[in-house]
């Protein structure tokens, strides 16, 4: 099964058996050196940024009581529901030279204007604000599982809150935060929307240039395989970072170890609220302003189709992905020794680093190869049956988003002490009973978190959906793209707002389930 999920990866990797293209010389000379440089800067900047912001926010909402904490804890998830390129678009509209913020700065404060798209800092900040929820979400779940008496012990030994954070809470949350960081870096590598808007060149730029400009799907696939290689190393380092430490903990208390009173409490609230404003409220306000005037002309019965297509695709993809990811995450614990199995699982999760359209075309080429084999043995091409079927599109989603479901479930599976398995088996539990009554309830938080992430990602997914969807299966993301690509931002705001609304509903469901499951634990 994992092998099947990894199909696009194999297609991309096998591109190397194709002859080398003369294009490589041109790329080496003119493109790659600067691209690799800018990609590394981007990854490092975004990596540091999301880790800091994500863990600090998670720590604050879990460990500290401050004004507004309860709703901010949930509000901080909301930026997830906005596609990255929509956020980037709004940021440019507000903060670029011609944006309100800069116009006001020049006119009211007399400051000189500047080009925010030059250099790397603005795009790094944008990515950080778009992707911090990954780290936030995973770190939050991990902090919640930490024993409060660990922190109390730290306090009584004289450690300040900051020292407790860096020396105790953060190291304990490291596996979870690393999983979130990994997802972020893979998303950043695969992104095309945000980097195009900022006109920032990354490795993906070269892939698209090989394909779009020079019509060489071979060189594009070869370049993409390098991207996969980078992802492979990232995963390896993440596993290393988790190390041998076994952090099992139970005994969760709802009491907040820190109470932030007075000015400190308000400062913390202001900081968290500021992040929420920048990453969600401000972009939403802009979308509302745009959408308000356009809703009458844009809304039509067509939207019922868009919404139902989006909902059906999202739900189906989530269910399939979760089922496979759960199966992959469980036996991995029992067959710890099997290097073969672990490598296959690792391969199956690499799809996340592939840009959506490269992965989609890779999938088409894979199917085409199967057809070729079929024809060789006297059969017929299956291309026309498989292309444009829901099955293929769902397959693409599963392939691409397996990583997030898997890493989230696995992080939670790490919490299962071997003694649970041992004691359950000694009590005569069958394998099935062990899974159903011991494992599943324990990894439910991970499944929920993974399911939410996959749902929101599928809902926002554009390139693979755009290429692989069956006739008539337009989604909200496609509508957003088609309108905004033609500069019709006011109208594009309408489907974008519906998406955000859906994302928020998902978040609400998640919140209820999460509270329920943590009560049960």
């Amino acid at each position: 099964m994992a092998l099947l999920v990894a199909l696009p990866i194999f297609v991309v990797a096998f591109s190397w058996v194709l002859p080398k293209h003369e294009l490589w010389a041109h790329f080496f000379e003119n493109l790659l050196p600067s691209l690799i440089h800018s990609t590394v800067i981007l990854l490092v900047g975004v990596g540091i940024g999301v880790t800091l912001l994500g863990t600090v926010l998670a720590y604050l909402v879990v460990m500290v009581e401050f004004p507004g904490r309860q709703w901010l804890e949930w509000a901080l998830f909301l930026p997830f529901a906005i596609p990255a390129y929509v956020l980037a678009f709004v940021y440019l509209g507000v903060f670029d030279y011609s944006g309100y913020a800069q116009v006001w700065m020049r006119e009211a404060l007399g400051l000189p204007g500047f080009d925010i798209r030059s250099g790397s800092w603005a795009i790094i900040l944008t990515f950080v604000l778009v992707f911090y929820p990954y780290v936030y979400m995973m770190a939050r779940a991990s902090f919640k599982r930490q024993k409060t008496n660990m922190i109390e012990a730290g306090k009584l030994l004289g450690a300040s809150p900051i020292r407790v954070f860096f020396k105790i809470s953060l190291p304990l949350a490291r596996p979870a935060a690393a999983a979130g960081l990994l997802v972020t870096l893979m998303e950043t590598l695969a992104d095309f929307g945000v980097v195009s808007l900022f006109n920032y060149d990354t490795f993906t730029t070269a892939i698209y240039s090989a394909w779009g400009d020079f019509r060489s799907i071979e060189v594009a696939a070869q370049l993409a395989s390098l991207l996969v290689l980078v992802a492979f190393f990232l995963i390896h380092f993440e596993k290393k970072a988790r190390g041998q430490a076994k952090y099992y903990s139970t005994n969760v208390s709802n009491k907040k170890p820190y109470q932030a009173h007075g000015a400190v409490g308000w400062l913390i609230a202001l900081f968290v609220f500021g992040v929420f404003m920048l990453s969600f409220a401000m972009p939403m306000l802009q979308l509302l302003i745009w959408g308000w005037g356009a809703v009458a002309s844009e809304w039509s019965a067509k939207y019922f189709d868009l919404i139902s297509s989006t909902a059906i695709l999202t739900l189906s993809a989530v269910i399939i992905t979760l089922m496979i990811a759960t199966v992959l995450a469980l036996p991995n614990r029992c067959k710890r020794g099997s290097i073969w199995l672990q490598s296959v699982i690792r391969l199956a999760t690499l799809g996340y680093a592939l840009p959506g359209s490269v992965m989609a075309v890779g999938l088409l080429y894979g199917i085409n190869q199967i057809s070729a084999v079929n024809i060789y043995f006297g059969g017929e091409s299956i291309n026309h049956i498989v292309f444009g079927s829901i099955a293929l599109l769902l397959f693409a989603y599963v392939s691409r988003f397996m990583a997030i479901a898997y890493s989230s479930i696995e992080a939670s599976a790490q919490q299962i002490k071997p003694v649970f398995t041992q004691s359950a088996r000694l009590l005569g539990a069958s394998r099935l009973k062990l899974v159903m009554q011991v494992y599943l309830p324990m990894i439910t938080p991970g499944i929920l978190a993974g399911g939410l992430l996959v749902a929101v990602d599928v809902m926002k997914e554009l390139p693979a959906t755009y290429l692989l969807r069956p006739f008539g299966w337009d989604t909200l993301a496609i509508q957003v793209y088609e309108l905004s690509a033609e500069g019709l931002f006011e109208r594009a705001a309408v489907p974008a707002l519906i998406m955000v609304l859906f994302g928020s509903v998902l978040m609400l469901i998640f919140q209820v389930l999460d509270k329920h499951s943590s009560k049960g634990a």
């Binding site: 800069q102 006109n199 085409n368 069956p470 006739f471 008539g472 500069g487």
Partner: protein, 333 residues
């Protein structure tokens, strides 16, 4: 939840049934966006009773899909923007030749493939746009002159990754040769006031906010902007009027090689070239009609007429790779 799975599997088969080929329907792959083509297809169905199924997508990706589907493709017609894309699709053997009298009458020669593989359906001009408060039109002349030192720190350009930039540079190579074209690009890059923008609308915003004074845009983006805000200090300038003329590009379509219903596809193509369709086309997107008997939309007519670059548009396709390499060498992002 299982129900939804079953439902979606059922939906797959029902969709397959809907899109099964019937004589009174035609299937189109289009990289033109839905909101630009749907009104046309609706009108066509009303006129002829032929139903149009369509699938929108990105040009390059749709071409790959067409290629891989081969003779089993459901597409009868492929519609896209940019002559380079049309030329490439033709060169990959994905179109069939269509030479009908109606098309010859409706669309001038230079907007059609010599072998009839594809037909241009609308014309978009890429020209200079300037801030009327800071630039006198007397200082403007050609694309090449934007490379002069007098424009240092005053120029805004769209990214080199967009097809319109690539085609324009292909035309520079065609007219001036690669060496001089390279110098022009270097000059542009040197004169840039900001990182090249992702969109033409961003270029115009930058000019309006004073980040730069002059730029290059497709006219319909300007058209959409002034339709909403008529009194902006922003004007178009027709480039190269004393020399080669304004660079134009097209959107167009062709009948696929393995069309299941070529008759209906040809009928659709002819209908799209008709005066009625061309008027809708022009009004929807502020483009110039390819059919010369149709007057442009009133907003567009107000900009006056201009001399077009008569370079055969296949050249944009042939020279595209050279153009991209050149821009990458000269550091035009």
């Amino acid at each position: 939840m299982i129900k939804i799975l079953i439902f979606s599997l059922l939906a797959t088969s029902s969709i397959a049934a809907v899109s099964a080929i019937s004589n009174d329907s035609v299937t189109v792959y289009s990289s033109r966006k839905e909101h630009l083509i749907k009104p046309l297809f609706d009108a066509f169905t009303k006129d002829t009773g032929i139903k149009v199924n369509y699938l929108t997508g990105k040009g390059g990706a749709l071409i790959e899909r067409l290629k891989l589907e081969g003779k089993n493709t459901k597409a009868d017609m492929f519609m896209t923007v940019d002559a380079g894309n049309l030329w490439y699709t033709g060169s990959q053997g994905l179109f069939q030749a269509v030479q009908t009298q109606v098309l010859k009458n409706n669309i001038p020669n230079h907007l059609r493939d010599p072998e009839g593989l594809w037909t241009g359906l609308s014309v978009r001009a890429r020209t200079l746009v300037y801030n009327t408060e800071r630039v006198s039109p007397r200082d403007l002349s050609t694309y090449a002159d934007l490379a002069l030192p007098q424009w240092e720190g005053r120029l805004c350009l769209r990214t080199s990754k967009k097809i319109y930039t690539k085609s324009l540079v292909a035309s520079l190579i065609y007219h001036h040769g690669e060496g001089k074209a390279g110098n022009i690009i270097s000059g542009w890059v040197n004169n840039l006031a900001a990182t090249p923008n992702a969109k033409d609308s961003h270029v115009m915003n930058a000019i309006l906010s004073g980040q730069c004074d002059v730029g290059l845009v497709n006219t319909y983006y300007y058209g959409r902007l002034v339709e909403k805000k008529p009194n902006l200090p922003l004007k178009l300038f027709w480039a190269n009027q004393d020399t080669t003329g304004v660079h134009v590009n097209i959107s167009g379509a062709g009948v696929t090689k393995y069309a299941k219903n070529p008759k209906a596809a040809i009928r659709l193509l002819e209908w799209l070239s008709s005066a009625k369709a061309q008027a809708i086309y022009g009004a929807l997107n502020k483009e110039y009609p390819a059919n010369q008997s149709v007057a442009p939309d009133s907003v567009v007519s107000a900009w006056g007429s201009f001399k077009q670059d008569e370079m055969n548009l296949s050249q944009a396709g042939i020279l595209q790779a050279t153009a991209v390499k050149l821009m990458q060498k000269k550091g035009y992002r």
